[in-house]
């Protein structure tokens, strides 16, 4: 007798059962591996041992949430492709595809039955592990229905999404070995391209920063989920006494826990449904004879060929350049001709490799000159556009009206500005940025010399500015700047503008974060160089020191940033860092810290450090006292160099075979 479902249009029970019985080793092993953790907890509990940190329902829920936010995406990413490789394996062999397509079942029946089989294989291990966790929590009296429900939703959504993407990948290719490659490309191509394009561009364009912009990170769901799914716990500090010793101590107790941005899983699950629909459309049009093809969809073949060529040209070109030319290069930026040659070689390798994979043959050379010519033209075009900065990226300084938020890192500190509150400061930052962009030849000329930092009156500074535009895009620039004593005094130079900005009263206030509700003191560290000893700060100690520094700042004893190393000799040989939790408008939290240079005269801060027991009077030695040889030399050289520079009328850059050279013209 046939079961009623056997001939249903969308589901065949025989095939479903067959899949589960054929592939039990995979889901069986996954279930076993996953069960070890709750089983170990259960054994500990039955032996009467404490649950350590999981002794209340909220602690258990927090553990679920951590698993859902950080472990489940990674586990599902890897496990989904294994399940897909099994249930869709019949597509990749002409014999098996022949059997399955000869059977009296329509393709939608095969598609949905196999998809449901794969989903069952995805979920069985989670169900078993989840059931064991529930058992452990019930036995331990820590069961929390809400936490469990939220976690089940998250696991369902993530499992569906990852298996749907693996299914979509399965219908793009006709080769089982290509399937994981296509799948991981689908998941990581966006961030990989982002990194590659940024890395490549920053080798050409002045100030372009970061190997990764994150603009398209949402297209790489695992990365995006790992960065945006967050477990937020609220802790309360309570006073307790040890049971045996009776000694009192403060401890943090979890009072609420939340899985933030859970909605993202829902959005990705919807995207998974769309990908599933695409997979189904691809299956309807799929030709059985594509079994064995690397790319099973006709129109994707040229995309694959030139996609591989482009990736190879960029990535392989960079690798070859690093391998063969980087050591000859002067300065931070690429030399175009050697890079172009490297790109062409790597692009040609990619082009022929892709052609061979598509043709399943090594004989692809005849008539290939058109493809090679296209590759060469593409490489030359990319290099030309970037080298000549056709899009004007290096000069781009966004208007404040287009900016939602601006972050700045300079002079060892971070700043965040909002146009509503800080429009004037933002304009000053823009002015520095514009001056830097205008002075690019000077900066590149000096930083292109290997020994520029050994010149004593030239200090160095980082200027890293990020504009978060209203459009959702980011403009991110990073400059490593030479700061010279002469230009610090010269109005209009970026050195001078930066000095005025950083050492302004407004910036000093911003630096210390006092009375700013968005920054909560969390800790920090003190390092005493004389004794080579360091200490961690508690949030209370951090707050106390923050107030002390603020009092010193108000008295004018703190906040003047010293750009040149020769000025550091008067500072105490102490490092003080205060760290804060920063909460943005969306409620997301991040860490921030400030670095405090301690100088004689900062009486409030010094007293506070002494009161807290971190330093004694003996620790109050300056850098020049502790390292006299370094600062004496520097001082002499600085004086000599300063005398020479006083006679300088102008500074110029000349090019040469060994790279650019800075020329100081004296009267």
């Amino acid at each position: 007798m046939q079961s009623k479902t056997s001939f249903s249009k969308y589901f065949n029970a025989t095939l479903f059962r067959r899949n589960l019985t054929r592939f039990w080793p995979l889901w069986g092993m996954a279930s076993f591996a996953g069960s070890l953790f709750p089983l170990a907890l259960l054994v500990q509990f039955l032996r009467g041992e404490d649950f350590y940190m999981w002794n209340r329902p909220l602690d258990f829920t927090e553990m679920y949430y951590y698993a859902a936010a950080y472990a489940v995406p990674i586990v599902s990413l890897l496990y989904a492709i294994l399940c897909a490789m099994l249930v869709w394996s019949y597509l990749y062999n002409s014999r098996s595809v022949g059997l399955m397509h000869t059977l009296p079942i329509r393709r939608e029946g095969l598609f949905f039955t196999n998809f449901l089989s794969g989903m069952a294989m995805m979920l069985i291990p989670y169900v078993i592990v989840g059931a064991l966790c529930v058992l452990v929590s019930v036995v331990g009296g820590c069961f929390d229905a809400k936490g469990l429900g939220v976690t089940i939703l998250a696991v369902l959504g993530l499992s569906f999404f990852y298996f749907a993407t693996a299914t979509a990948a399965a219908f793009i290719t006709g080769n089982i070995f290509a399937l994981p490659a296509v799948y991981f490309l689908l998941h990581f191509l966006a961030v990989m391209l982002d990194w590659l394009v940024c890395t490549f561009s920053q080798g050409f364009i002045f100030g372009l920063s970061g190997g990764y912009s994150g603009v398209v990170e949402w297209l790489s769901p695992t990365v995006y989920l790992e960065n945006h799914l967050r477990v937020s716990g609220t802790y309360e500090e309570v006073f307790q006494r040890g049971e045996l010793t009776g000694v009192g101590y403060y401890t943090d107790v979890l009072t609420a826990v939340e899985l933030q941005n859970l909605w993202l899983i829902g959005v990705y699950a919807l995207a998974g449904a769309a990908l599933l629909a695409i997979a189904w459309l691809l299956y309807r049009r799929r030709r059985s004879e594509s079994a064995g093809d690397v790319v099973a969809v006709g129109w994707m073949k040229p995309v694959f060929r030139y996609g591989v060529t482009g990736l190879s040209a960029l990535l392989g070109g960079l690798l070859l350049y690093e391998l063969f030319w980087r050591s000859f290069q002067s300065g931070r930026y690429y030399e175009v001709l050697p890079l172009l040659v490297c790109m062409l070689v790597a692009g040609a390798i990619g082009y022929y490799g892709a052609s061979m994979l598509l043709a399943k043959s090594l004989r692809v050379f005849r008539g290939s000159w058109r493809g090679l010519a296209l590759t060469a033209a593409g490489c030359a075009l990319v290099c030309a556009v970037l080298y000549f900065d056709v899009l004007g990226v290096a000069d781009r300084v966004p208007e404040v009206s287009r900016v939602e938020k601006m972050t700045l890192y300079t002079a060892d500190n971070n700043y965040t500005f909002y146009p509503d509150e800080d429009a004037a400061l933002m304009e000053r930052v823009r002015a520095v940025h514009q001056a830097i962009a205008a002075d690019r030849n000077y900066i590149m000329g000096i930083t292109g010399q290997e020994d520029w930092r050994s010149q004593p009156i030239i200090g160095d500074a980082s200027f890293h500015v990020t504009y978060y535009l209203s459009s959702g895009l980011k403009v991110n620039r990073y400059y490593y700047l030479p700061i010279s004593q002469q230009r610090l005094a010269q109005a209009g130079t970026y050195d001078n503008l930066l000095d005025s900005l950083v050492n302004s009263d407004e910036m000093k206030d911003r630096r210390i974060h006092l009375n700013d509700a968005r920054f909560a003191p969390t800790g920090g560290s003190v390092y005493v160089e004389r004794r080579n000893e360091g200490y961690d700060l508690s949030s209370r100690e951090c707050a106390a020191l923050q107030e002390a520094v603020a009092r010193d700042a108000a008295a004018g004893a703190w906040g003047q940033y010293a750009w040149l190393e020769s000025d550091w000799g008067g500072e105490y040989a102490l490092s003080l860092e205060l760290s804060f939790t920063y909460m943005n408008d969306e409620g997301d939290t991040s860490r921030d810290w400030i670095s405090i240079s301690l100088r004689p005269g900062m009486d409030n801060t010094i007293s506070c450090l002494k009161e807290l027991g971190f330093i004694t009077e003996a620790d109050l030695v300056t850098n020049s006292q502790l390292y006299p040889e370094a600062y004496d030399d520097t001082g002499d050289m600085a004086e000599k160099f300063a005398q020479e520079m006083e006679a300088v009328e102008s500074v110029g850059i000349i090019g040469g075979a060994d790279g650019p050279t800075t020329v100081y013209v004296t009267g």
Binding site: Q2, S3, S6, F7, N12, A13, T14, L15, R18, R22, N93, S94, R95, S96, V97, G98, L99, H101, T102, L103, P104, I105, R106, R107, G109, R287, S288, E289
Partner: protein, 297 residues
């Protein structure tokens, strides 16, 4: 009735079927012959719903085959490279087929168990190639199909099992009116079982006839002329051979007409000998530069 009309199928620019047409009458056994690469397996994959034609139509019993689950439930096929699941036993595969084919008969399955004498608990992978082929027949015949499509079905079977298998197939044809399409290189074997033959080459069905029509359209005459006379030049012969005084003539006409044409020369002896399917195949295609060598045993 199985009907293929003007089917074209291309693979990456290569035309495997180039307007192929064939027609298999209900209840007949149709032999599809042709050299390697002629397109026999490709046409069979269209008939079993694996391939979709680029042009033309493929129908069984008046219904299109593509994505027709109801029709495919009445069609059983044995490809030349039958697939089974890696760890499956015969019984596992039986359960699998049973879950798909509504007419699957356990009674037939049990009866055929005695015919094939294979332990159904054995893993198919561990059986010999011939035994795997027997399993394929066992399961296909248990599906009680109205249409049986066989691609090189008896390759690997020993002579006794071949006879046994054909006997089972012919029994189904006789008792249940099963329509059979079989492709093979083995013309002698087809001659014993087929009542219709189609000849394929280069993606086309060149001709299709009933076996009787084919044999009636061509004749082999053995003739001895008087006084050692040679074959007269005006005789329309496809092929001549001579052993001693006996001439063997292949002529495209029936035996009576050939005898009448030869009687004019007053031969000492005239005898008509029926042609084998293999000879018909060779002489039908031999003059047209076809790959005859590929199919001659």
């Amino acid at each position: 009735m199985i009907e293929v009309k003007n089917v074209v199928k291309r693979f990456d620019g290569f035309t495997a079927l180039d307007g192929a047409s064939l027609s298999v009458p209900t209840g007949s056994v149709y032999g599809l012959v042709g050299p390697n690469g002629a397109g026999k397996s490709t046409i069979i994959r269209h008939l079993t719903g694996i391939y979709r034609q680029d042009e033309g139509s493929v129908a069984i019993g008046g219904e299109d085959v593509w994505e027709n689950a109801g029709l495919k439930a009445r069609v059983a096929a044995i490809p030349d490279d039958w697939y089974y699941f890696l760890q499956s036993t015969v019984r596992d595969m039986m359960r699998f087929y049973k879950g798909f084919y509504p007419q699957f008969s356990m009674e037939r399955y049990e009866k055929l168990k005695e015919v094939f004498s294979i332990d159904e608990k054995r893993v198919i992978r561990r059986l010999s190639k011939g035994m795997q082929k027997q399993v394929a027949f066992w399961l296909a015949l248990s599906c009680m199909p109205d249409y049986l499509i066989l691609d090189e079905p008896v390759d690997g079977l020993d002579p006794v099992m071949r006879r046994q298998v054909w006997s089972l197939v012919m029994g189904d044809v006789a008792e249940r009116g099963t329509t059979v399409l079989v492709s093979s290189h083995n013309l002698r074997e087809l001659e014993d079982v087929c009542d219709h033959v189609g000849i394929m080459d280069k993606g086309k069905v060149l001709l299709e006839r009933s076996l009787a029509q084919l044999q009636d359209n061509m004749v082999k005459m053995q003739v001895v002329f008087r006084d050692g006379q040679e074959v007269p030049a005006d005789l329309p012969v496809l092929h001549v051979s001579r052993v001693g005084r006996i001439h063997t003539l292949i002529m495209r006409m029936n035996a009576q007409e050939a005898a009448a044409r030869l009687a004019v020369y007053d031969p000492m002896l005239v005898d008509a000998v029926p042609l084998t399917l293999e000879e018909i195949f060779i002489y039908e295609l031999g003059g047209a530069d076809y790959a005859v060598k590929d199919i001659v045993l």
